[in-house]
């Protein structure tokens, strides 16, 4: 029994044992509350009111349902019959064998289904041809897809997309960073597949950053609504709005690093500076109070160099700055040198930096 203070109507209604008392579902609660009200006569009116409201709420009716659930189940099962044929395997076969078998069965199955479908409905199925854009370090690219969607692709990124979109969906796959201005089509969901999440929109502008080595996927919305459907089952999908950023992190929180399991976390940041985050597409290299360590990663991708910071305290220094693309990496370093006494040396494309 909880030792709480009961003074008013809502205190009673919030209490579980009070609910049991009104329901008479628990002897202990029943005698407890009988004694309690005998001991607190001043609260009798409140108590009585709470009992009446509680009784009303408890005596709710489960209204009859107009749906025949047996019928519904039948149609569910037949639906499953239609889709479920591709997975007849059992779980106790060694996993590796299973995977190999799955690949073979799947390929054979796909070929077979492809064949059958083509024979049955030659007009319904379009053959999907994918293109892939690979943007090397130090470069940026842009593309306009068949539906008019405009995509800017940042350095060290690859984007896979169908040459033409089908009617029902518009899927692309991204590794790295890209900025999307998706043409609105309420009948066809535009989906960006990344390693950590499926990002779904109907027509919006947003930025996705999902580099494999970053161990996270950041989605920032500039306009419209974006739905994030994490790949991992244990994270719930979320909807994010303009100026929000969803971060799915593959690294567990430092405080609760348990076992070796990688536990991805989803967090949402509000009021992010979208201008800074998307400045790369306008060829502006912008740092907004970022650590030198993070800036170095950006510069590596931007200028196609390798940067080594030799002092740990230097890695944590924070800088704010804005550069246009035609400045060289050395000009950026010189700018940093104006505030922090650093020396740097370059060999081929490896730049090492340390404090003076």
């Amino acid at each position: 029994m909880t030792k709480r203070v009961f003074e008013s109507f809502e205190d009673f209604l919030l209490d579980d044992s009070f609910k049991q008392y009104v329901e008479r579902s628990d002897d202990q609660s029943f005698s407890y509350w009988n004694e309690w009200i005998a001991a607190h006569p001043s609260l009798k009116t409140e108590f009585q009111k709470a009992v009446e409201v509680s009784l009303t709420l408890i005596n709710n009716c489960k209204n009859a349902i107009n749906i025949d659930k047996q019928e519904s189940l039948k149609s569910l099962l037949s639906e499953i019959e239609k889709t479920g044929k591709t997975r007849p395997w059992k779980t106790n076969i060694p996993k590796l064998l299973l995977r190999i078998a799955a690949v073979i069965v799947l390929s054979a199955g796909l070929a077979w289904i492809w064949d059958v479908l083509r024979k049955e409905s030659p007009h319904m199925i379009e053959h999907i041809v994918y293109n892939e854009i690979i943007v090397p370090t130090g470069e940026k690219s842009q593309i306009i897809l068949s539906d008019g969607t405009h995509i800017w692709i940042n350095s060290e990124s690859r984007l896979k997309y169908p040459v033409t979109f089908g009617n029902e969906s518009r899927p692309v796959t991204l590794e790295g960073e890209a900025y999307f201005e998706v043409t609105k089509n309420s009948k066809s969901v535009f989906t960006v597949n990344t390693k950590d999440a499926e990002i779904q929109v109907l027509g919006t502008a947003f930025n996705v950053k999902s580099y494999p080595e970053d161990l996270k996927t950041q989605t920032t919305v500039i306009s419209g609504l974006v739905k994030i459907e994490p790949t991992r089952q244990n994270i719930e999908p979320v909807l994010i709005k303009p100026n929000q950023m969803a971060v799915i992190s593959e690294i567990p929180e430092a405080t609760e690093a348990k076992d070796n399991e990688v536990t991805p976390e989803l967090s949402i940041l509000n009021n992010v500076n979208t201008e800074v985050l998307t400045s790369w597409k306008d060829h502006l290299l912008v740092f907004a109070d970022e650590t030198f360590e993070d800036i170095a990663v950006k510069m590596e991708r931007w200028y196609n160099v390798k940067i080594m910071i030799l002092n740990d305290e230097l890695k944590q220094e924070r800088y704010t700055g804005k550069f246009v693309n035609n400045e060289t990496v050395y000009e950026v370093l010189e700018a940093i040198k104006m505030t922090t006494p650093i020396v740097y040396s370059a060999k081929e494309n490896i730049i090492s930096i340390k404090l003076q």
Binding site: L55, T56, N60, N63, K69, T83, S186, L202
Partner: protein, 194 residues
């Protein structure tokens, strides 16, 4: 434990377990879904889609001890998703909550049971003056008989917030009932006619 948890069978791909789960929880899911979405056809489709999705993804699903809250939560998410995707074009800043607007009718509560009819009608009226979130918590607590801990899981809100929201809700409920009593008193009408 004299019965096998049907969820385990479900995960192993047993059709019987699927049928058992579907038939056991269908009505609760349907009533809750109907309160949320307000349209029978939508809810019927959502339940079908939900089970189909769960079945297809069963290899990736986790064991679940308590099936009912898990399904209620999944259905809730599914309904929100389908509603949100529908109206995504309509307005950019539409709140998820506004999509889920439950209302209570007289049919939801039984007469008699030592409760004055006047109180019953006042409770129903007052309930509909609460926020959608407060109404939903009350639904889950009294219609689905879930405790606050489970409600917080179903709605994806932490338990302290649930307590705060419902505490405010109950205060409002009492205030509305007082106002209704007052109106009744000045109108001198023994039968409620709002």
């Amino acid at each position: 434990m004299n019965r096998k948890n049907p969820w385990r069978g479900f995960l192993q791909g047993e059709r019987n377990a699927l049928s058992e789960i579907f038939l056991t929880y269908h009505d609760d899911l349907f009533r809750y879904g109907l309160k949320l979405a307000g349209n029978e056809e939508t809810v019927k489709d959502c339940i079908q889609e939900l089970f189909l999705k769960l079945w297809k993804n069963r290899d990736n699903l986790k064991p679940v001890q308590n099936i009912k809250p898990y399904l209620l939560k999944s259905l809730r998410n599914h309904i929100i998703d389908s509603m949100e995707l529908q109206k995504q074009n309509a307005s950019l800043d539409s709140e998820i909550e506004s999509a889920l607007s439950m209302s209570y009718t007289e049919e939801d509560f039984a007469t008699g049971n030592n409760v004055p009819e006047e109180t019953r009608l006042k409770v129903i009226q007052a309930l509909n003056k609460l926020t959608p979130r407060q109404r939903e918590i009350i639904y889950l607590r009294y219609f689905e008989e879930l405790d606050f801990n489970i409600i917080s899981q179903v709605m994806g809100i932490n338990i302290q917030s649930i307590r705060n929201v419902i505490h405010r809700g109950m205060q409002l409920l009492r205030d509305h009932m007082l106002i209704l009593t007052f109106l009744l008193w000045i109108s001198g009408d023994p039968v409620l006619s709002f």
